[in-house]
């Protein structure tokens, strides 16, 4: 079993509401997976199940462990940053470092301190004196210094300015990620992480509606600027989305060979933001 995460028929209900609906997927090591979905689509619920923070139905293995019964073993290998600030307001930077050093056997204190030295955080600073960006930096310092195999990031850059956001991913790529590690990230700022990802998962109403490597996404989906005289021929190929620009139709196709599309007009790769919008059409209707 080489999968970092393996889910079969994963389901989570809150009362009658189904938050995650019979979902199955496999995530191999060395990947950076973007879990993208509208608010309330089940992203955080799925991540909670993976982290053993919520009971679930179905089969789920994370690094070979069952998150519901082997949470302690699992937590040695997994780190996460949640979208809500969970650090107590009175906590000082140095106390946070001491705490993690005390509870986590894989924590590398020197690495955390080295990282903190590059920020404006001072050892005696309390969480309540920090900006949002600084709190995320503290989180990141703690998390990156743990040699975990799986890192789960739930909206890690929410509310951060663009400098902090860029710095965040830069640090992850430079000091944390390698081919033995796996990162799952959820974010609404999809354009910013588009090129960092190796895999993409779209989730809608608790179901995974697209799961593909970025290579596959590039091969499967293409946008074509269709000339008016070819519009009917193009529509016959079942575009998943169509919009009008300068009197031409821009159509998005799934799984139609490029060579065939090229006869209809100019083709281009589609960004995941556009793909997301096309796939999620009707979500709020």
């Amino acid at each position: 079993m080489n999968s970092v995460i393996s889910a079969k028929g994963l389901t989570k209900r809150y009362g009658k509401q189904v938050a995650v609906d019979n979902v199955s997927f496999e995530i191999p090591a060395g990947r950076i997976i973007g879990l993208i979905g509208p608010n309330g689509s089940g992203k955080t619920t799925a991540l909670k199940a993976i982290l053993g923070l919520a009971p679930f139905e179905g089969e789920l293995k994370v690094l070979g462990f069952d998150p519901s019964t082997q949470r302690d073993e699992l937590m040695q290998q997994v780190c996460f940053i949640a979208d809500v600030a969970i650090l107590p307001r009175w906590l000082k930077v140095k106390d946070a470092v001491d705490f993690v050093a005390g509870v986590h056997p894989k924590f590398d204190r020197a690495k955390a301190e080295r990282y903190l030295a590059h920020t404006k955080l001072k050892p005696g600073m309390k969480v309540k004196e920090m900006s949002k960006g600084m709190i995320v930096q503290l989180h990141l310092a703690l998390v990156m210094a743990i040699d975990a195999k799986l890192l789960v990031l739930d909206e890690p850059t929410l509310g951060l300015d663009i400098m902090f956001r860029k710095q965040f991913y830069q640090n992850l790529l430079e000091d944390y990620f390698d081919e033995d590690k796996t990162i799952i990230v959820t974010t609404h700022q999809v354009e910013e992480i588009e090129h960092i990802l190796s895999d993409l998962m779209f989730i809608q109403d608790g179901k995974i509606i697209l799961s593909a490597s970025m290579d596959e996404v590039g091969e499967r989906f293409a946008e074509v600027m269709v000339n008016a005289d070819k519009a009917d021929a193009a529509r016959a190929l079942n575009p998943i989305d169509e919009r009008q620009v300068f009197g031409k139709s821009v159509m998005l196709f799934d799984g139609v060979p490029r060579a065939q599309l090229a006869t209809l007009g100019e083709t281009r790769n589609v960004g995941i933001a556009d793909l997301f919008v096309a796939k999620m059409k009707g979500t709020y209707a």
Binding site: I196, G218, R268
Partner: protein, 122 residues
Amino acid sequence: MSIAWNDNSPIYRQLKERVVGMMLDGALKPGDALPSVRQIAAEYQLNPITVSRAYQELVDDALVEKRRGLGMYVTDGAPEKLLASERERFLSDEWPAMVERIRQLGLNIDQLLSAASNGGGK
């Protein structure tokens, strides 16, 4: 710093072309070291696999060589190789498009030559 990638070709290829461009204008010379995959990935916010793939193509084209434990270096023969392949590419890809544009604009050869000799070309 960030690069505006275009939508027409895969990122790894665009990255490769960027390195090739730096070789062509002499910013990267034979024997120069390329930045590590990790550095490039972090700097341009790319998946490391994308960067590795671009580097691998440069190795396959013998423009760059791997030195064990040290990293990637521009090969001695890189400039000549590049010049030959870029000339070919210009003639097969860029030139036909340019000819088409010239035709579209109705420019004649005298106009083109005089524009080129007025500093339009080097």
